[in-house]
């Protein structure tokens, strides 16, 4: 791990847009979570949020380099350790306001079974920040230990 100016340590990983590559990413998330002695259940939450971020990008981003660029960062804020995962694609971006909110009612009426990725990420992580535009999409998700 390298130590940056903010005292956070980080690992970079680039994965191809290909089936099951999200699992490669989750292995790295688990290793970094274990490094800060995060509980297994919290690591599972990070892993699933990361899976959802990856498969959203695989399906919708149309990344120009056919890659996803990931940074796994550990740090400390207000005396609490955290694991942060940044997911960057160089795709076409999306308008967050245009995303229809999923709900169990829509899902079980057959109108919208998919589209839960962002909701799952937000529910499982302590914070999720998304910036998206013509250059691509960056998702930064943080989970406190």
């Amino acid at each position: 791990m390298s130590l940056d100016a903010m005292g956070a340590r980080e690992i970079s990983l680039t994965i191809p847009v290909a089936p099951d590559m999200e699992i490669v990413a989750t292995a790295q998330a688990a290793a970094v979570g274990e490094f800060i002695e995060m509980s297994r259940d919290k690591i599972d939450e990070v892993k699933l949020a990361l899976v959802e971020a990856c498969i959203n990008a695989f399906e919708h981003a149309h990344a120009r380099d056919d890659r996803l660029h990931l940074i796994f960062r550990v740090g400390r804020e207000n005396a609490r350790d955290f694991l942060e995962v940044e997911v960057l694609d160089r795709g076409r971006g999306f308008d967050q306001a245009s995303i229809e909110q999923p709900s169990p009612e829509k899902t079980f009426s057959g109108r919208q079974k998919r589209g839960w990725g962002l909701q799952i990420m937000r529910s499982l992580m302590d914070s999720v920040a998304i910036t998206s535009g013509e250059g691509g999409t960056r998702i930064v998700m943080r989970k406190y230990k």
Partner: protein
Amino acid sequence: MAAERRGDVAILSTDGYINNQGGEEIARQAYAQLETGARALVLNLEKTRIVNSIGISILIEVLEKVMDRKGQLAFCGLTPTIDKTFRIMGLAQYAAIYPTEAEAVQGVASA
């Protein structure tokens, strides 16, 4: 993935990541059980730690098919993360969730 039949209750035990392929395999096995007379399905996920949203959407299709047949579907052996995700997506409103396989089998058998 393993399948076991106890009377009209079929128990499907998963192993590993449930994504689109894993979900489709569960659906294939579940539909085969329903076609051969199973009234209730128990999905034991104790060997699974990640179910992605695509896998869950396929599980919802299985649940809907069971509900159409007036049958029962129950889950057991969920990790806290899978349990939380199932509740977010609404599965817990339509399917029972039990801690253990024995409780799930008993629950669907008496329903």
